[in-house]
């Protein structure tokens, strides 16, 4: 016996054709790059597609669509007859796989065959396109292009958190038939759109999800040379960008001008700039749009309320100022300054208005704050009350509704104590917490009408003081036990007769009380002074020690008592309104970026090149800083210094150093994220130089100057020279707005809070930064940077040069989706054609250039490209429908004449439909569909990959998934770059490292081993057998059912007989029961090894 593997002349011809091309190609090293020559060699790809005349054909009855005329015309020229129409069964099966990637159910086949209507094919195609499985199938095609994976590969195969939202985005985009131009726009600039597309059900930002694709590439955990590593990642992103959308291989111009196409080395770096200009983030895609509206409203309301409240403040401050002695002077402090000496680079200066305002989320407001700007705060966050203070207030009996502050309250039963003095010495030993003091005094009408100031001396530690139930002052933060209390009493508050003073004293350690000097304890009434020393009534309130932490849950937000603040130095200020944003049901970045939910509350600086690397941040508060050198997402032991916690507590900003000298010369931007609910202001970031701090000068000013500052405030304009005055007034804490004013603002905030969407899931997305133009790197090496090139497309497709510092991706999207673009539409229709007909009109869908193949039907390609844009308005569904209904798609896979195998061995002219090996996913999904195990639910978190002895390595997922992947379609199995199931690889599942528009199709023994021995298929055959036995009563009926389910056709007599015979043989192995499950399982299992299971005719 001497059987030969059938290698036909087909293969030989492919080789021969390739050889011809390669010989005709310009020699790789033949002298200088010839741009014009390269352009002229393939002029059509640089020019806009033209809708030419529809060809005339001889066989006029054959075409049903103009598309068929193009195909038939070529066949006639080549003297080939088109194949006969495929049978309805074959056509229907083919349409099902092409559109949904799943086999039809027997009843669907029957319904189609029984449908008498003329339009039944169209009806079927439309229903398939409406099926959610269409989106799954075509999303998977697209995932091949963007090398979709859910991990970063390399050593540890670190996860790429929340990547699956991109997959679900694709499924929805295809299912809702997002027009291709919008689809492209979202991929390139979905994060930058003014009005992104929103999910109609959830309101989530849909467009932004498309921008995950740049980040599917490999990421090293511990690159030693970050710049080299950046160049490699960049190469991959440019490669995917250019192949996917342009069908060009630009990445090979990284080191030198393209050898065959009109692409210069500078073109590569021009495209690289688009990638460099933006960075990575995890976006709160579900909440961002809704919260954007809230943020805008908040800002509008702030602008509306600010003048009113400023004015009210000025009015309330008048009596305070008036209460000062007429000739007294007040000591003011002018602002601190933070000079930097020596040569340095100002990376970001937020004190001077918005440098490029790059924020993720609303946390830092709409822009930075200028020095002297008045701010309407949303909560008492500039100096938040200590947690335990809030706790005490929450549980203190006297504070409930300020009950013990009210004049009507009867303190007759309270004990008395002599003041001033510490309460520990007067009946409250070792008490920490709240003590209330009350005193009633009688005043004459004259006394009540005079200008009044309440003096309480020093209070240890904090207090709030009321006169006749109205708060007149207080210090609620620690650190004021030496502060002498002096509270002006607003005019009209005192009355003739009984007046009540109530003081709530809070102490959190050691001794406490109203503990100044007796002469300091008085009520000053005009010229007269009424002493308040001696006996006061007192009662203990909340006890700090007795508090339990459960009470913390019940702590309400403290009411605003002073909504106005003044920014002395300017900067970015974290807005406490947004405290409470929560990321839910999401994963964080592994490694060094972990541990802090940064999404939605991060601000980043522009990108700069580090000069000295001696970086200083001028901040106040607490933040996590990530110095994104080369945008590396590190997880390993190296580069931990890039992530730092910086903390500057106290009232004034401070310079905090971050030593990044090791990275001098590299590109960097800085990302700041607040930690917890702590306040945060960022003023400046500098690189190099010696930063200093000169505290503000003290100066004495007369009372009148304070009045002039208040005049300013009334007008809503604050001159710089008045800043210290107003700051002083704020610092005194003695000016209080009326409850009406406070409540108005408070209720604005409360109602706005209801509109906030606090919870959101996260998704990978691009984050637009500042424009970064890359240098041309000689031989692709970072150590030899040459000239800088502006961001752009390759010269022959170029757009207008970008202006300003925008990332440029919106402009890029506009350029690519312009009707006259020569490649966008052509490349996509060719991809669609490739998927439907098994080979593209251009056989190399990712490369339309010289080293790709020439189109077999150039006029058809152009016709379709124009039709796709114009007639079909970029609707992918619509063009698929049209092509599937064409006569061409409906041909049999058997040639009209066996001689055509020699005449058109590659089937280049489409004389028949090809026989196609189904893709890895389709084979697995079919097995699930046939067994009945298929779970048809759409979307969601990936199912863990099933680990075996052959799916191993470092970074192994912690858990193995189920053998059958929960019955979900393959597109939902977790795609861990280093752990791709053997089953998938055997059937040419593409390794996700770059664009693969055309998968390999091999035919190797390992595939047969999978079909014979893979435990998953064996398991499915058992499930299938069980169902078949239950469903049909007799062996022949069961076999017919199996054929209908697996192959959508009845068995031939011969097949039926062979199956029955095998069944008997199987049954013989298991005791002879012809209805036994084992025998039927074995028969079912045999079906996977039938070529009809993995080949589609």
């Amino acid at each position: 016996m001497n059987k030969q593997i059938p290698i036909s002349s087909q293969v030989a011809r492919i080789v021969f054709a390739a050889l011809l091309i390669s010989e005709a190609a310009p020699r790789a090293n033949a002298g200088r790059f010839d741009f014009e020559g390269s352009k002229d060699r393939l002029p059509w790809i640089w020019e806009k597609p033209q809708r030419g005349a529809i060809p005339s054909v001889e066989e006029v009855a054959w075409p049903v669509d103009s598309v068929d005329r193009f195909v038939l015309r070529k066949l006639e020229v080549e003297k080939l007859q088109p194949a006969e129409p495929a049978s309805d069964r074959v056509w229907m099966r083919r349409a099902h796989f092409a559109i949904t990637g799943l086999p039809p159910k027997p009843e669907e086949v029957q319904a189609f065959l029984n449908d008498p209507s003329k339009d039944r094919k169209r009806t079927l195609v439309r229903s398939l396109l409406d099926s959610p499985h269409y989106g799954e199938r075509w999303a998977r095609h697209w995932m091949d292009l963007v090398r979709y994976a859910e991990s970063r590969g390399h050593e540890g195969d670190a996860i790429l958190p929340n990547a699956y939202h991109y997959r679900d985005y694709l499924v929805r985009a295809f299912n809702t038939d997002l027009p291709y131009d919008a689809f492209v726009t979202e991929h390139l600039a979905g994060d930058l759109l003014e009005t992104p597309r929103r999910n109609p059900e959830t309101g989530a930002n849909e467009s932004i999800l498309a921008t995950a694709w740049p980040f599917f590439g490999e990421e090293s955990g511990t690159p030693v040379d970050l710049r080299q590593d950046e160049c490699d990642r960049l190469d991959n992103k440019v490669d995917v960008l250019s192949k996917t959308f342009l069908g060009l291989t630009v990445a090979c111009a990284r080191c030198h001008d393209h050898k065959f196409d009109a692409i210069r080395q500078s073109d590569y770096y021009a495209m690289a700039g688009f990638v460099l200009s933006s960075s990575y983030r995890q976006a709160r895609f579900e909440s961002m749009e809704q919260n954007k509206v809230v943020a805008e409203t908040l800002e509008r309301l702030r602008r509306k309320h600010l003048p009113k409240i400023a004015k009210a403040f000025a009015e309330a401050a008048r009596p305070v100022v008036d209460a000062l002695d007429e000739n007294a002077t007040v000591e003011l402090t002018t602002s601190s300054v933070y000079p930097v000496e020596g040569e340095h680079q100002l990376v970001a200066d937020y004190t001077q208005g918005p440098t490029p305002w790059l924020v993720d989320g609303p946390t830092f407001g709409p822009s930075s704050i200028r020095p002297g700007q008045l701010i309407l705060v949303t909560e008492q966050t500039s100096v938040p009350l200590p947690r335990w203070t809030r706790l005490i207030v929450a549980v203190d009996p006297g504070s409930q509704g300020e009950a013990w502050a009210k004049p009507a309250f009867d303190h007759g039963m309270w004990k008395t104590m002599k003041l001033p003095g510490h309460f520990e010495n007067a009946g409250l030993p070792s008490h920490d917490g709240v003590v209330w003091f009350r005193k009633t005094i009688e005043l004459s009408a004259g006394q009540a009408a005079s200008r009044a100031i309440l003096h309480l001396g020093q209070i240890d530690d904090m207090d709030v003081t009321w006169v006749n139930g109205t708060r007149v002052g207080g210090y609620e933060n620690p650190g004021h036990h030496f502060t002498v209390r002096k509270y002006p009493v607003p005019a009209g508050l005192l009355r003739a007769g009984k007046n009540t003073i109530a003081v709530r004293v809070m102490d959190h350690g050691f001794s406490g009380g109203i503990a100044g000097k007796p002469e300091q304890l008085s009520l000053q009434l005009g010229e007269e002074t009424v002493s308040l020393a001696n006996l006061w009534h007192f009662a203990p309130g909340a006890n700090l020690k007795a508090l339990n932490t459960d009470a913390a849950l019940a702590v309400p937000k403290p009411p605003l008592d002073q909504p106005l603040a003044l920014s002395r130095n300017g900067g970015t200020i974290r807005d406490a309104f947004w405290n409470g944003l929560k990321n839910v049901n999401s994963e964080n970045d592994p490694g060094a970026l972990d541990g802090l939910a940064r999404a939605g509350k991060t601000i980043r600086t522009p990108t700069v090149t580090l000069a000295s690397g001696q970086v200083h941040y001028l901040i106040r508060g607490k933040a996590k800083v990530y110095a994104a050198i080369s945008q590396a997402l590190f997880t390993g032991p190296l580069h931990k210094t890039l992530m730092r916690t910086v903390e500057a507590n106290g009232d004034a900003p401070r310079w905090i150093a971050h030593d990044l000298r090791h990275y001098a010369g590299q590109r960097v931007h800085f990302e700041f994220s607040p930690i917890g609910d702590a306040p945060l202001e960022i003023l400046q970031v500098i690189d190099g130089g010696t930063p200093g701090h000169l505290p503000g000068e003290k100066k004495q000013v007369p009372r009148e100057e304070l009045h002039r500052a208040l005049d300013d405030l009334m007008d809503g304009v604050l001159e710089a020279r008045h800043m210290p005055h107003v700051a002083w007034l704020f610092e005194q804490g003695t000016v209080h707005l009326s409850a009406v004013q406070l409540q108005a603002w408070q209720s604005v905030l409360e109602s706005l809070r209801k509109d906030v969407r606090w919870d959101s899931r996260l998704a990978v997305s691009w984050w637009g930064g500042t424009g970064v133009d890359e240098h041309v790197l000689a031989r692709g090496r970072p150590e030899s940077p040459g000239e800088r090139v502006g961001r752009n497309l390759p010269e022959l497709l170029a757009m207008a040069p970008l202006e300003g510092g925008s990332p440029g991706r919106l402009e890029l999207a506009q350029q690519l989706t312009a009707r006259e673009h020569p490649l966008t539409s052509r490349v996509m229709v060719n991809r669609i054609w490739h998927q439907l007909f098994g080979r593209g009109i251009v056989f190399t869908p990712d490369n339309f250039g010289w080293l790709g193949e020439r189109p077999s039907h150039p006029e058809l390609l152009d016709y379709l490209a124009v039709e796709f844009a114009d007639t079909h308005a970029y609707s992918i569904k619509s063009i698929i429908e049209r092509l599937v209904l064409s006569r061409t798609f409906g041909m049999s896979s058997k040639a009209a004449n066996s001689a055509y195998a020699e005449q058109d061995p590659e089937n280049r002219w489409l004389h028949r439909m090809p026989v196609r090996r189904l893709e890895a996913e389709v084979i697995r999904d079919s097995a699930l569909a046939i067994s009945g195990r298929l779970d048809r639910s759409v979307g969601g978190k990936p199912v863990l990959v099933h680990l075996t002895e052959f799916v191993v390595g470092r970074g192994t997922p912690t858990k193995s998934g189920p053998l059958d992947g929960d019955g979900r379609r393959s597109v939902y199995t977790a795609l861990r770059r280093n752990f791709i199931p053997t089953f998938m690889l055997a059937f040419d599942f593409p390794r996700p490292f770059s664009t693969v528009g055309k998968r390999n199709v091999t035919n190797v023994a390992a595939q047969s081993l999978v079909l014979m021995n893979d435990p998953f298929l064996y398991q499915q055959s058992g499930i299938w057998a069980k169902r078949i036995i239950e469903k049909q009563p007799s062996a022949p009926k069961r076999i017919q059912q199996m054929y209908a389910e697996a192959f959508n056709r009845p068995p031939s007599d011969h097949e039926l007989a062979a199956c029955l015979e095998a069944l008997t043989a199987f049954a013989g192995l298991y005791g002879g029961d012809p209805n036994g499950h084992e025998a039927w399982r074995d028969l079912c299992h045999s079906f996977y090894s039938m070529t009809d299971f993995i080949y589609l005719k």
Binding site: C252, L851, F993, N1000, A1005, S1008, S1086
Partner: protein, 457 residues
């Protein structure tokens, strides 16, 4: 029974007349006859993952003892960035070096068994890598690119030559337990057809994915196969792909038998097993001995490229001696030294060494100064490897590092040169073995590589 099928190589020789230099892809995936007379038919690649220290094995540097304990920045001079940046003192080797064999090559006591074979080895002491980090360096060593997704050299060899035996794939990875950094993609077919993927054969446990039938009764599988084949013939319609699939089913059935056969060592004599170290007291020695013996059996059966991964000697530490060099290298050497020597002797005595190229290498070397106290950090600037067998000049030493064993200074080589040389010995011109992917004719050596003729016989 005569073999019913011609070999792939034979077939392609027939099919490809006149189309030299271009590879058939997709269908059978192997190209053409070798470009010139091959010196070796097979390669056994002994991958010492983690990076063996050159100054403790094949690169004798007496100066280290003299300056032991000194600050390397003073003694050596400028120190490049290391992966962990924890630069310690200059550290002498804990192992004594001696001159071995007639050639007088300096080899340390770390490898007593290998040292006895000095006259068989061509030692290269001036190899460099581009990456001081495992994963990139592993990818680079395997595929010539420091990134995921490129075809491994074994895949290129398989693509270039195919397998002599239709029952086996061309590229087999014998897994001793330590899957290298970067995972199975080190053995990837990349953009080459899937058939050239490094097929992972476990030395212990199920040898090959899906080679073990689920059926408890062997007859059941036979019936299945016969039914499917009978019915497939009826539906193939002369369509080539379908006929190939039928052929593959038959091949798979044979592989299913052939793999257990090659893994079964019942037919090997006790003396042979002993030679490899099957009776060694250390269990990891026994594991690697098993791998080495199976490697010989695989090349006997015509597998073109066999790669061995090391056993899990120190967990995931492999040869990566960041601390306690003595323990780490000592134990790893203990596992591989005797089996490798056994393999070499066995190949030689069977006359197989003439046709078999044996390559021993890590992905980089280690620093001559300590990392912290008693370990060594990664060093890409100079390290040692050896080659032996088919076409290699025995008993030579080539290239040199500086006086410290830190950087290659004499005839420095790149991984591309190693690749070019391996392909050359297999009869393949590295500049002509290309595969067109995404519009480029891509080769293993990219635009680099020179054959190291100095070590060829």
């Amino acid at each position: 029974m005569s073999h019913p099928f011609i070999t792939r190589r034979e077939l392609l020789r027939k099919a490809s007349l006149g189309f030299g230099g271009l590879a058939l892809s997709g269908l059978y995936g192997a190209p053409v006859r070798p470009h010139f007379q091959a010196r070796a038919k097979n390669v056994i690649f002994l991958f010492m993952e983690g990076g063996v220290s050159q100054v403790d094995s094949f690169d004798y540097k007496p100066l280290l003892a003299k300056h032991h304990g000194e600050d390397p920045r003073k003694a050596i001079g400028e120190i490049e960035a290391t992966q962990f940046g924890n630069v310690g003192k200059v550290m002498k080797s804990p192992w004594a070096f001696k001159q071995r064999g007639e050639c007088g090559a300096w080899i340390s006591d770390l490898f007593p068994h290998m040292a006895e074979l000095a006259d068989e080895l061509a030692i290269i002491r001036s190899m460099t890598s581009n990456f001081p980090e495992h994963t990139s360096a592993c990818y680079y060593l395997h595929s010539g690119v420091g990134l995921q997704g490129r075809p491994s050299m074994g895949a290129w060899a398989s693509y270039g030559l195919g397998s002599e035996n239709e029952n086996f794939p061309g590229y087999v990875v014998l897994n001793g337990g330590q899957i290298p950094s970067g995972g199975l993609d080190n053995f990837s077919n990349g953009f080459l057809p899937a058939t050239h993927r490094g097929n992972l054969l476990n030395a212990i446990g199920t040898p090959l994915a899906n080679v073990k039938p689920n059926e408890k009764i062997a007859k059941a599988q036979e019936i299945k196969r016969s039914l499917a084949q009978q019915l497939n013939r009826g539906t193939s319609d002369g369509v080539e792909a379908l006929e190939s699939a039928i052929f593959n089913h038959e091949l798979a059935a044979r592989m299913q038998l052939a793999i257990p056969e090659v893994m079964s060592l019942d037919g090997e004599t006790e003396a042979t097993k002993k030679l490899y170290g099957f009776d060694a007291p250390y269990n990891h020695t026994r594991t690697y001995a098993r791998e080495c013996l199976i490697a010989r059996r695989l090349i006997e059966r015509g597998v073109c490229f066999v790669e061995l991964t090391i056993p899990m000697v120190n967990g995931y530490q492999r040869w990566d001696a960041h601390n306690d060099l003595v323990k780490n290298h000592g134990e790893n050497a203990r596992a591989v030294d005797q089996p490798i020597a056994g393999l070499m002797r066995d190949l030689k005595s069977r006359g197989l060494l003439d046709d078999t190229l044996v390559v021993w290498s890590g992905e980089f070397g280690r620093t001559p100064f300590a990392q912290g106290g008693n370990g060594r950090d990664h060093n890409e600037y100079g390290f040692s490897l050896w080659m032996a067998g088919g076409g290699v000049k025995p008993g030579v030493t080539f290239g040199a590092t500086d006086d410290w064993g830190y950087k290659a200074i004499e005839n420095p080589l790149q991984i591309h040169d190693l690749h070019a040389t391996i392909l050359h010995l297999l009869g393949i011109d590295h500049e002509r073995l290309t595969y067109r992917f995404s519009g480029r004719d891509i080769r293993l050596t990219d635009v680099h590589g020179r054959v190291i003729h100095e070590i060829l016989s």
